[in-house]
Symmetry: C2
């Protein structure tokens, strides 16, 4: 397998609204997308674009703000340990999600569940941080209209 | 201030050698730089390039692998809490490090020390995670020959 593009960095927050204000007013983000719910995953998310260079705007990896949605959200445990929020996962793109799953499993890595539709509308899975140098890693199929 | 390019994601590891093997053999990274010591900061680091797209190679943000260097390394505490390693900080570029320091301080954010030379040879500082949504944030001046 060849390392793909870093699509986004997942950052957990107790409040997406407060985090949007932080990224807009303190960090100076120019492009912040509309937040939306992912009920199947128990999260509400919001993507903040980063620029590729000094010209600003978009094109670099996004910051994915993640807030718990519902009482069964898997994010509650993270916030109990890190009440202010913090870095949660890294997401890399692959051309074929099923080939990627077979690759990681062949390397003895623990893939968490079957591929499912993620926040960008393509198939994703997560790999357990214990097998990935302590980094919870999301693998997502590159959107067909991207890049 | 305008959000700058995401230069790198800092990832702590108990062993840079083992992490290089992981990023090369499991993640498929094609460009991994020579590790080097930063004695003033008590760390040994190694940059792994990520691609901008499906063509592979470099151009995206780097992964900065960080291993403790010496008994007084500030990274020992992180590894005591996270023995396998894990995500440590995000680093964004700015055109002027002193203007950026004044900006964050003006926003009431705790800047950790004076600007100093970082791993890419330009001035950097860190901002305390408690003021940054739980994310330890490095701000670095863009290298003059970059991008």
């Amino acid at each position: 397998m060849k390392l793909g593009r870093l699509n986004h960095i997942g950052v957990v927050t107790p409040s997406i609204e407060a985090s949007i204000a932080f990224w807009r007013d303190t960090m100076g983000a120019e492009v912040i997308r509309e937040p939306f719910d992912l009920p199947a995953q128990g999260v509400r998310v919001c993507f903040v674009d980063t620029p590729l260079g000094a010209a600003g705007g978009s094109g670099g990896p996004q910051i994915e703000l993640i807030e718990p949605l519902g009482e069964a959200s898997p994010i509650h445990g993270f916030l109990a340990k890190n009440p202010a929020g913090g870095q949660h996962h890294l997401c890399f793109e692959v051309p074929d999600i099923h080939a990627a799953k077979a690759w990681f499993e062949g390397q003895g890595k623990k893939v968490l569940g079957e591929p499912r539709i993620g926040a960008h509308g393509t198939l994703i899975f997560f790999v357990h941080p214990k097998d990935m140098g302590g980094v919870l890693t999301e693998i997502m199929e590159t959107p067909k209209d991207a890049h």
